[in-house]
């Protein structure tokens, strides 16, 4: 589904991503973990075309998409959410999802139809899926943080993505919100046969959700494997727990 090969990116003299390679198969749930500044967000931005790589390739669904513009990646079936919640805060919850549907279904170039009537049922269906139907008329920016994250998921799902990249999906959530939203995410991923790639600080979330884990440290992949293997990996323990070799 996604194949990253020898990806590299430097900012000035600092190499943020250094020779990173990994692959994700269809339907997998993969977490990228690593301490602050390990390069997780940079890696995301390289994959999604927000940043240009200095070297290396990204292949998505057997196609070279290195440096491809975000809107084109999106059309190919890649969805993403952002670390800092990224919605349309002054539009209503319903409009957020409806506009995303209009954009994804390629109706955005239509200058003559009435937009209000488009994709109403689908928008309601999506809001039901992310449990926001009762808040459809609210202005999105007034929702609670957890609800905004749900809405962002709804916006991403509007594109019927095959691969969903989630940058810290539970950042800033309470324990209860985190549990609920990961359960929601897992259910939706299973229902829609989604491949998930996410970054996360909360190790409970990572080890309970991910099927595979990629550990990033100072821009390099230092370990990769199933949760049990990662848990006992020496390098990972050293990075996270400060243990000596």
């Amino acid at each position: 589904m996604l194949e990253v090969r020898n990806l590299r990116r430097a900012f000035g003299g600092v190499t943020a991503i250094d020779d990173v390679s990994f692959t994700i198969d269809r339907g997998q749930i993969v977490a990228i973990i690593g301490p602050n500044g390990a390069g997780k967000s940079t890696l995301f931005n390289l994959i999604t075309g927000h940043l240009r790589s200095d070297a290396g390739t990204v292949r998505f669904r057997d196609r070279d998409v290195t440096g491809m513009a975000p809107h084109r990646l999106c059309a190919l079936g890649m969805g993403r959410s952002f670390q800092r919640t990224n919605i349309f805060p002054r539009l209503t919850v319903f409009d957020n999802v409806q506009y995303a549907l209009i954009a994804h279904r390629g109706r955005g170039r239509d200058v003559w139809s009435h937009a209000d009537a488009l994709f109403r049922d689908e928008a309601e269906g999506l809001l039901r899926d992310v449990k926001l139907l009762d808040k459809a008329a609210m202005v999105a920016g007034t929702l609670s943080h957890g609800n905004q994250k749900q809405l962002e998921l709804g916006i991403a799902l509007a594109g019927s993505p095959q691969l969903l990249l989630l940058d810290e999906p539970t950042a800033g959530m309470s324990a209860a919100e985190t549990r609920d939203s990961m359960a929601l995410l897992g259910r939706i991923a299973a229902e829609r046969d989604l491949t998930l790639l996410f970054t996360e600080h909360d190790m409970n979330v990572v080890f309970s959700t991910a099927q595979r884990i990629v550990v990033l440290h100072q821009g390099r992949v230092i370990a990769e494997g199933a949760p049990e293997a990662i848990r006992s990996d020496v390098d990972v323990r050293r990075v996270y727990l400060g243990e000596r070799r």
Partner: protein
């Protein structure tokens, strides 16, 4: 409660835009040359301001050079009609096409930069247009501009009922009302279309818009071209109304004027800029008869408005209406 609801839906069902259009259309029958003159000017400037608002209010792009397309439209129409004797319908269409073409070319570069750089680039292109109009004597008449732009041939209107014994200026006003009316209808339709909604999404959050699959620059360029086209139509109408076209039409002060109209009227609503155009034209005509310090008065009005009613006149009226409604309900 139910009574209020019925009055509300009832008042909503009235096509207010059509009512106001009919009222404005009746101005020539009031018999005053001056009112017809003023109404023609206001309607054309309203179209100019509403076209700018497609960028400013709907797409979130601050153009400081919208007069360029107004000027291009005015010159195109005037040169074709005066120098080449082309009939008005063709000259008018050509004005829009020419403005659109220039908007596409200039816009291509402008949408590549953001915020203040976008504003400065639009200004720079507009100043180039102004300089060309100012210097290209053989075609544009240079500093002197082109005077005596002919009226379109509107003799046929005299055979229509009610329009029989009208002056040419009145006939021209009717033509302006019809053409501007069509332009308003089209623009209204565009902003309510899926395309218009995507512009709003881009205004609200360009980064997110990109990742719901929108080619943000492409949409911005399309909006720029549409806004330029309608500014070109407004310019074409204005050149004939003014009986002449001058380099001023593309000067930065003209761009500032339309920006002020749009903000004064309220860029949060479709008709806000039209209200702003009317307010500015009426104020300037009233106040210049009393004092020569019109810019001073304008400055004060703007400051008060921006601090007290950041939504412009239309925004202020809107909030008064909601407050009244709440009051009645309580």
């Amino acid at each position: 409660m139910s009574a209020i609801n019925t009055t509300r839906t009832w008042s909503r069902r009235i096509p207010w835009a059509l009512v106001i259009w009919l009222v404005v259309l009746s101005v020539p029958w009031m018999g005053s040359r001056f009112y017809t003159f003023l109404a023609t000017e206001i309607v054309i400037l309203a179209l100019f301001a509403v076209s700018l608002n497609l960028l400013l209010g709907y797409t979130g792009l601050v153009s400081f050079g919208h007069a360029a397309y107004f000027g291009i439209g005015a010159y195109t129409c005037a040169i074709l009609m005066k120098t080449h004797g082309v009939p008005f319908p063709i000259a008018f269409a050509a004005a829009g096409a020419m403005a659109a073409a220039f908007a596409v070319v200039f816009g291509f570069f402008c949408v590549r930069s953001t915020r203040i750089y976008f504003a400065m680039l639009t200004l720079a292109f507009a100043q180039i247009v102004w300089a060309v109009c100012f210097k290209w004597n053989s075609v544009t008449g240079g500093e002197q501009g082109l005077s005596n732009v002919p009226y379109p041939d509107l003799g046929w209107m005299a055979s229509l009922p009610l329009l029989g014994d009208m002056r040419t200026a009145d006939h021209y006003f009717v033509l302006v009302m019809v053409l501007a009316g069509i332009c308003f209808l089209v623009l209204r339709r565009v902003v309510a279309s899926p395309f218009g909604r995507m512009l709003t999404a881009i205004r609200e959050n360009p980064e997110r818009a990109e990742f719901v699959g929108l080619n943000v620059r492409g949409y911005q360029l399309a909006a720029f071209a549409i806004a330029g086209t309608f500014a070109g139509f407004a310019g074409a109408l204005f050149g004939i109304f003014n009986r002449g076209v001058f380099p001023d039409f593309a000067y930065w002060s003209k761009s500032a004027e339309v920006l002020i109209m749009t903000i004064l009227g309220g860029m949060g609503s479709f008709w806000g800029p039209a209200v702003g155009a009317a307010a500015l034209a009426l104020l300037s005509h009233q106040i210049t008869t009393v004092t020569q310090y019109w810019p001073l008065v304008l400055g004060v009005v703007l400051i008060v408005l921006l601090f007290a009613f950041p939504g412009g006149i239309a925004g202020a009226l809107g909030s008064v209406r909601t407050r009244l409604r709440r009051h009645r309900r309580a």
